[in-house]
Symmetry: D2
């Protein structure tokens, strides 16, 4: 298992830039998702259980798992991008390891490789039940940096 | 490009079984998604644009794209499963090909290979804008059949 | 199932450029792979059966399937790149649909979306046995164009 | 980053069973690959540089990277399977993080989740150059256990 690499930020105001972008995502609000952790190259998103977020067996729907893991990867990558850039998911792959049965879903993402144009990210998703966390999914994703474009006006 | 294979159904009541399962998914209701096409080995899911479904640039969020493409793959596979089975997504990979800017998002899935335990599925996602459809994503997924388990009680 | 799009080439000498690059790949020679089809946005690679190419059941090894499908995707993308560019696989995902038992393995790739920096490609792999082809794998891949770099000197 | 889980073996003779299967893979012999590490739920495969294993820039070909990472995942999973079983890769996704330039390529795989039928595996691939290792790829794969079938006779 590799150690997490450390990364230098290009934009000292990255926290505000990422939080502003997250706040503009209508879907994160609809899901009740919260961006609770943010460091250079990492991001954590949490969402509490509600019946509106379920699949047919009343567990968290894989669509929620995928959505918050994808957003966590994108924002982990976005912490390392310059001020005048926007972030775009190129692709991701997710393995659903166990039913997401619990009170809260937690996606923790980190940048694995930080290229200038592409950032490769990984996310682990956990479900918390009766106070204990267990892993329910793992994601591998490719995120693109579009420079010279504001994340707000695109 | 391969022709779509034709498949024999094992459960003549598959339409009702799939629609019942879809109706129990709280997330599909929250997104406003509709299961509009269902044939042996294929499924189509549509969702209309709302600001609640957006990413930061006010296009459809990739989380919505992934969620309906995943559900379409799962239900395309579920049409071919026996009556006393439930359906489980093992994993999927999605490439986001273009911004999902438009009035409606349409995921069309079909089974590529139908094994007894695993079904390999593919989905193409289109966005409709001003009456014209353009492709915005493609998914490849692995879906598992759990026999001897009801989709309702699991 | 989408129609294959048509693409404009940027380098009229693309055939020679792609064939030169293929000829420099030691692994393709070791596998006995041949680049037999090449059109704008498509490529086909074939390899004949030998015991040296097998997995433990004496079928074609998935490593051969993956290698020729990856190269076919890369060269399908490379047909559309400018003269002063080199090609790089960012990532791929492959589903192995059936045992690759037969006399010849055939990977047919095409570009699904041709962006300036990234090309999204798909490949279907077939195995020919007793004169009949059947599909044994499907790949989805992301290929990057590095401009201002020669494919030879990098 | 999760801790590696520990797994119980079902077949105390797993080492011999895995090594026998590896020895029957013609491709691993052709590549010069060696199975050097094997513990319950983990496997390591190494291959030394030769010009026959290159892509067009004379680095290790991604096909070699994919082949040994796939085999390492399959054999990491196979350590945990019963005696009368065979192993099958369902699918994998690989991200190529950096050019594989060096003297030796090393794939280290471990099982992430061990279900009865499916094992989800992860592999990290490193390239050793001038004595130092750097990561060049990461893989996520789904491996299937076929029980009641000998790995030799299938």
């Amino acid at each position: 298992m590799e150690d997490k690499p450390t990364f230098a930020v290009q934009d000292p105001e990255y926290t505000r830039r990422v939080q502003d972008s997250f706040a503009r995502q209508g879907l994160m609000k609809l899901l009740g998702a919260k961006l609770v952790g943010l460091e250079p190259g990492t991001a954590e998103i949490r969402v509490s259980f509600r019946p509106e977020l379920t699949q047919q067996h009343q567990y968290f729907h894989a669509g929620v798992t995928g959505a918050i893991a994808d957003s966590a990867c994108g924002y982990a990558a976005y912490t390392l991008m310059p001020a005048d850039s926007s972030v775009l998911t190129v692709e991701y792959k997710i393995n659903l390891l166990a039913p997401a049965e619990g009170d809260e879903l937690i996606a923790r993402a980190h940048v694995v490789r930080s290229g200038k144009t592409l950032k490769i990210c990984s996310a682990e998703v956990f479900v918390r039940k009766d106070g204990a966390e267990s892993q329910c999914a793992t994601m591998l994703s490719t995120v693109m940096c579009l420079t010279g474009t504001s994340d707000q006006s695109r």
